[in-house]
Point group: C2
Chain length 322, copies 2
């Protein structure tokens, strides 16, 4: 029985794309519900100044609480050394750094060249080594499959950047389809090439559903050995039509796909869908995406580990939990 790690990025990637700010009480309840549903890695926020990202102002409270949940790896995004220092001081277990594969995107996003970001990552790794060697450092390579500013991103550039980051001491390097431009053949090619270059340090697939290819791209990545997948409950914040919006892969549909294929995620879909109630309460009016919650599980559905669901219907007729 193969196993994959679903890395839930809704509390960071989802919430930062939503206009309103989810109250801290709801975020805490959501994190609890995600952990109870079996999520084992949760990206709970970003260490970015609150004046820049008010949705993430309560990150320290979230970390403090999340660290009491033994079943999860608590992860947060840090864009630079300063953020990494703050994050590490909270006792967090894993930090993730976004590094753009596209020079244009790197400049637009963080006003650094790709090479300058590699240097920054090196400084973060050195700080981690000196002060908190148990903390995992991941890089998510943004625009690895294409950039809305520069268009195509050369696959050689992606591979060389992955090598440079591995050289700098990063524990795992994943590829992110920030702009939803990836196709399955490209996903297979690129992850294969990166794995040939950096081996076991090949990390997560962070794929988007901007053009409907999210799950096909996840399947393609799985086919070439990827075993960690970023996704967002309800595809939160994932209005794929708005320029710059995220279009995240929906956790519920991704979990259904894997479990139906006999691949173990450890996630209970009934409990996960029940957690939607927290989202609708904490972000009133915010649309949630995904097909499986409404369609329910299939008749005769069995989880990969042999468990049966209590009820194949996940949501009641009026859209609340069954």
């Amino acid at each position: 029985m193969d196993t994959v790690l679903i890395s839930e990025v809704g509390p960071r990637d989802g919430l930062q794309s939503v206009k309103s700010t989810m109250p801290t009480t709801h975020k805490l309840a959501w994190i609890d519900a995600l952990a109870s549903a079996g999520l084992r890695e949760i990206e709970i926020g970003s260490f970015v100044p609150a004046r820049l990202l008010p949705q993430m102002a309560d990150i320290t409270d979230l970390v403090r609480h999340a660290m009491t949940l033994p079943s999860i790896t608590v992860m947060a995004l840090v864009p630079n050394l300063r953020g990494a220092e703050t994050a590490i001081a909270t006792g967090i277990q894993k930090i993730t750094i976004p590094v753009s594969a596209s020079e244009a995107h790197s400049q637009a996003n963080v006003r650094k060249t790709c090479a300058q970001m590699v240097d920054e990552v090196g400084r973060i790794v050195n700080y981690r080594n000196a002060h908190a060697p148990q903390v995992k450092v991941e890089v998510g390579m943004s625009t690895a499959f294409g950039c809305t500013l520069q268009g195509a991103v050369l696959e050689d550039d992606v591979v060389r950047l992955a090598e440079a980051l591995a050289e700098a001491g990063v524990d795992e390097i994943g590829l992110s389809d920030t702009t939803g431009m990836a196709n399955p053949a490209q996903v297979r090619r690129l992850f294969k090439q990166v794995r040939d270059a950096i081996g076991d340090r090949t990390g997560a697939a962070h794929l988007h559903n901007t053009r409907g290819l999210g799950l096909a791209n996840c399947l393609a990545a799985y086919d070439v050995g990827v075993r960690t997948f970023d996704s967002s409950q309800g595809g939160l914040g994932g209005c794929p039509y708005a320029p710059g919006a995220s279009g995240n892969v929906v956790t519920e549909d991704l979990v259904f796909m894997f479990e139906a294929m006999g691949v173990h995620t450890g996630i209970d879909l009934e409990m996960l869908v029940a957690a939607r109630a927290i989202l609708t309460a904490g972000l009133p009016g915010e649309p949630l995406y995904g097909m499986t919650p409404d369609s329910g599980l299939t008749k005769g559905f069995v989880y990969a580990d042999g468990r049966y669901p209590l009820n194949i219907q996940l949501l009641s007729v009026n859209g609340t939990c069954a």
Copy 2:
């Protein structure tokens, strides 16, 4: 450069799932637009008594017109010998017969056992051989991946049914995920087994997006040699939440996936999306699905055959054609 055939089933599978009836003028315009956009096989309706399916009452007019378009294979669904006789009399080029892999579904749908349907198919093939040997006979095997009535459908049953239909003289036998229960591993297994049994007579993948797995399942089928894919423009009629609704794969997103992968479909996405105007005019209020029309093509997009689009934006900001 690999090539796939997209078989557009919107005018039949889509329209029969929609409550209102599209006016004949719009249907004719739609068929013209589909042909102009490069679709090469169009399922234009069903030969079913008009009192049972009023949406299909104008089928003979549609066939007469469609037969004037040299670039397309004109196909229609026939549920029995009587329908086949009527269809063949119109001069149609291809007929498709739905045969359920699930006994429960067969009884509920046509009040025959699977074996009785195989006999009916044999009679249709014999009639074709005697009266119109140029007409192609296809079977779409419904509920091949699972049934909402009986649950799991044994893979052996699917293979044996395929063999029986090939024995009966059917030209191609495709597998249909009528209930949207398929997963990619199952799709690969089943199409491989069917191809091992009946070889070149292995036909189309008719997959649904009921749980978000439509394109992942199409990719899986492509991986094991399937080269014909049924889909519906705008996922028409594809409200996947309503019990019994179709949840068809969206043609626009499917075409984007293949072309982005370098697989030739022959379809012009700009012209195809422009045809949506006919749908919105002919079926006011009917929701259209799919991501690619709103997101547009990717920056730097090139069709598999080397053509560039005129404009990567497919729809204007207010949802009309760009």
